[in-house]
Subunit: 439 residues, 2 copies
């Protein structure tokens, strides 16, 4: 009945799990655990060779992959899926090559496993090291884009983890072929094929069984829209990192230079719309409103942005620019579209309070020429990333120079902000002695 | 009806929460959040001065504290509480002084807040820093020992977090006085008294309400027995770090020097019995069994240890040493008493498999003279700490030289092993630009 890959349909809370699905998924998880034990001691050379083998195999299987993808696209078209979603789902030879290139890029990144985080020799002669080790088994539940399948498998492998993948049903045929290609490449490279497994065949019930596989799954990362993430966070009994919901704010301070502020809000809102680090609300200090808002509202309007504003914002709208009255709903919404909520605030403090009340804790930006204002904003805003005079769009593992990312954590535990390879590891204390006992 | 502070009674799953208790606890959490906002920007000097003020105030209130403690002790005695538990509950002037000294010790530790974890200048000129910041509001649910009240409050304050404390009902009178003294000292030091709050008055329902205060509590740390920890992990919807369950193993390898192995197992088992880093199972390679086990079993027996062994262990018991037949229950049990499970294994691999199957992931030790065996053990054992030729008892924040600890994490996410001040923080990405936008 649904015309788009609806995540609430794919991953509803309370989906019953038939015993045979539960057993099948637990069996997948156990095999992942056995593979993880091998991966944990695989050298960087072995893992990088496997990543290159996976890239080679994907390129060699381009025709087969594109053919399977055509089945998904045809099914999507028949179901009336939107052009935008079909585009995200589509694989061309160029896209397959780009996905393979991303694996080679991963191979070039340093291996987090084995890094000594801290170490010392204690007064009693014990040699202490805190060493990075893989988490073990990492689950990913994500949406239709088949490139995530390869990304997630590669990131997990490079960080020494076995991956259990649950992709969106809309990409089922593509993912089946891709996972088969990756597994064959792993086997050929001398690593266990079970380092990468898919549970797509078990549908929604399989996803729920994965969320409940406590003791067998060390980390579950949901990657997708707000509904998917909420469902996984609420339903999972395995450890989850909450990613990617971005109700991001740009605050234009009283002292802001309009020539700096205008490009930043335009870029934050319109450079790419459907992503978590796009801005959704603009807050403007009342002292900046009269000079900044008229040209800013006009420029945003010209860029196709629908403006949702409070009364004071509307009062500054130039002729021909409509401002839809904003409600609390607008402050709370991650539009992921060419919509922007706009509010005039009386002070920096009011801006911070607004952000603390409504933000999802992803990224907030201040545009200011006032040093003290920038420092207060940085100190008081409680989000994963705080930008001073820069676009919110920079919160990204690649932009930060961290290499690939598996998602952007909006929680405070374990990882916050872009999650790269080190965030897919834990640590182990290794202590060497010569017979020491506690007195 | 219960004669000891029973944790299942104190913290049962499914306890109904009356709306007025829920509201009262949420109000406590909101006030903690407001206090946390102040603490987040308090300087180290301010926080250390407050720690010293708290220590001074505790010492100055010794008589009042000991008097309140006498009420708890009297109630405990009347209820038939064991001598051991009464001793853990008891506060003397010397103990109050020691608790105050621990606060001064905390003041001497470096402040984790503000530490720059990573940083770089990006090609586009953005200045990037990943900075440690407080988590915000930290809840602690713990057992009867009133020193934990002060410890937890001090650790939270030093790391810039507001603390919400729920102590065991057996220490209610002591905790009420102690929390009152700490709050008064905070106020006098110019920090919000709500940086330390108790919800003891709301009983079990209050503890459950705290576990459910999602969005208002950034971290909940259960500290106590396995039942308490299990209840909190199962019931909480706020982020939890699982601490302290220690089913620890000592493995005596074929190559072990008995003169090294014997002191290590004796120390690991008997140096202190009721603690999470005490050993609960001894695994012995079959090639070491004939020489090692007879004197080891005799020495353990002489130290008052009840031995639970498999058949091959029993076969090596010297005359007069009883070995109770061990069952799977013994492999699974954290005795926390003078009991030890003993098993003979055929190989290092079998030892590792046993540990991976039964361990709680706290601490395991190998005694060996074989370098390759030590390396395999370190690589294959999946626990927070792995000891080579040293007692399991060393897994401790103080012993590791990390300063005070709030608990020992047995999970892989966020923190693993002893949790000190840095583990009570998260990070924030702070990015400074000059108007940069994404091309």
């Amino acid at each position: 009945m649904t015309t788009t890959p609806d995540l609430r349909q794919d991953h509803p809370t309370g989906t019953p799990v038939p015993p045979e699905v539960r057993e099948a998924v637990l069996d997948v998880a156990r095999r992942a655990g056995a593979a993880a034990r091998v991966l944990a001691t695989a050298t960087r050379a072995t893992k990088d060779a496997a990543l290159h083998a996976m890239a080679d195999a994907l390129v060699a299987s381009t025709a087969e992959i594109v053919e399977a993808n055509a089945v998904d696209l045809e099914r999507g078209r028949a179901a009336g899926t939107s052009a935008g979603l079909l585009d995200r789902l589509a694989l061309t030879p160029d896209r397959v090559a780009a996905i393979a290139a991303a694996l080679r890029e991963l191979a070039s990144l340093p291996d987090p496993v084995g890094e000594v985080v801290r170490g010392s020799t204690l007064p009693n002669g014990l040699r202490l090291r805190q060493v990075r080790v893989p988490l073990g088994v990492v689950g990913m539940i994500y949406e239709a884009r088949p490139n995530v399948t390869v990304d997630a498998a590669g990131l997990a492998l490079k960080s020494g983890n076995a991956a259990i993948l649950r992709g969106g049903s809309a990409a089922a045929a593509s993912n089946t072929v891709v996972v088969g290609v990756l597994r064959e490449a792993l086997r050929a490279a001398g690593l266990p094929a079970d380092a990468v497994q898919s549970i797509d065949e078990h549908g929604r019930a399989g996803a729920v069984a994965l969320m409940h596989a406590r003791g067998l799954v060390d980390l579950l990362v949901p990657r997708g829209g707000a509904d998917l993430i909420r469902t996984v966070v609420q339903e999972a009994t395995v450890p989850v990192v909450e990613t990617g919901t971005g109700n991001c704010h740009v605050y234009v301070d009283a002292s802001a230079d309009p020539a700096v502020a205008l490009p930043i809000i335009l870029n934050s809102k319109t450079q790419r719309v459907g992503v978590c680090n796009a801005a959704e609300t603009l807050l403007v200090h009342r002292d900046a409103a009269a000079t900044f808002l008229p040209p800013a509202l006009a420029a945003l309007h010209d860029a196709g942005v629908t403006l949702h504003g409070d009364d004071r914002t509307a009062a500054h709208a130039p002729e021909g620019v409509t401002v839809v009255p904003a409600t609390e709903e607008d402050w709370a919404t991650e539009y992921l579209s060419l919509d922007l909520a706009v509010r005039v605030v009386d002070s920096l403090e009011e801006a911070v309070d607004h952000i603390r009340a409504w933000s999802s804790g992803h990224t907030e930006a201040i545009v200011t020429a006032d040093l003290a204002a920038s420092e207060t904003f940085v100190a008081q805003v409680d989000s994963a990333a705080v930008m001073v005079n820069a676009s919110t769009r920079f919160t990204d593992g690649g932009e930060f120079g961290l290499g690939a990312e598996i998602g952007i954590s909006t929680q405070k535990m374990h990882a916050r902000g872009p999650m790269g390879l080190p965030e897919l590891t834990t640590t182990k204390w290794v202590v060497h002695g010569d017979g020491q006992v506690r007195p």
